[in-house]
């Protein structure tokens, strides 16, 4: 891979990491909401909370 290709790859990896970081943050908020909502709805803790 030449220098230009390497630069392009690095730039895409940065964009990928930024996208994933935003997703991780929102997913953590969703999981917090889901734990609370499940307990309210069913009166017990959920066994699994996470991405689908």
């Amino acid at each position: 891979m030449d220098k230009t290709q390497n630069q392009k790859r690095e730039e895409i990896l940065k964009r990928l990491e930024s996208t994933r970081e935003r997703k991780r943050k929102r997913l953590a908020e969703m999981e917090e909401y889901l734990r609370k909502a499940y307990k309210e709805e069913f009166g017990v803790e959920p066994k699994y909370v996470g991405a689908l």
């Binding site: 290709q5 895409i12 969703m30 734990r35 499940y38 066994k47």
Partner: protein
């Protein structure tokens, strides 16, 4: 969710009733005691046009049988989002817990079951991250998006560039 979406239209199509949470998530509860939330957030992988990623999460107590109503509700939400937004929609499979293969299979089953024929373009690929892990990914775009070709080319280039070793 920062993007507007019509609950009325979703609920006209979806078998489960979908609500907004106070935090702006789309939420529904299944017949098997699973609560599912969905959100659409900005994406940085595609730069040639506006693009969003879809995030799905769930809370449950036990494994549910294959629930067709979940698939139909997720597809109703996705379809409505695309009806209201002429942007690219990306699904990036979560890989942090080792369940990515099951997630990928499920998402492919859902999307392949959908008759998006003349309205939407859909492409599956994989995106290799900096740790060399394969992340299953998909992109869905309305066929009437004037930048369709450029978006698909860019997404393909992203996938192919990251497959090459530095």
């Amino acid at each position: 969710m920062n993007q507007p979406i019509s609950l009325e239209a979703i609920n006209a199509m979806a078998p489960y009733i979908v609500h907004f949470t106070q935090d702006g998530l789309l939420r529904f509860k299944t017949d098997f005691g699973v609560i599912i939330t969905i959100d659409f957030i900005e994406d940085d992988l595609v730069t040639t046009d506006e693009s969003y990623q879809i995030i799905l999460a769930n809370a449950n107590k036990k494994k549910s049988p294959n629930d067709e109503k979940v698939k139909d509700t997720v597809l109703a939400i996705t379809t409505q989002f695309l009806e209201e937004h002429q942007s690219a929609l990306i699904y990036l499979c979560e890989t942090n817990d080792g369940k990515q293969l099951a997630r990928e299979r499920l998402f492919k089953t859902w999307i392949n079951a959908y008759d998006y024929g003349t309205r939407f373009f859909c492409m599956f690929t994989s995106i290799v991250d900096s740790e060399g892990i394969n992340n299953a990914a998909a992109i869905i775009i309305r066929n009437d998006n004037p930048n369709l070709r450029e978006i698909v080319n860019e997404f393909t280039e992203v996938s192919e560039t990251l497959r090459q070793k530095p």
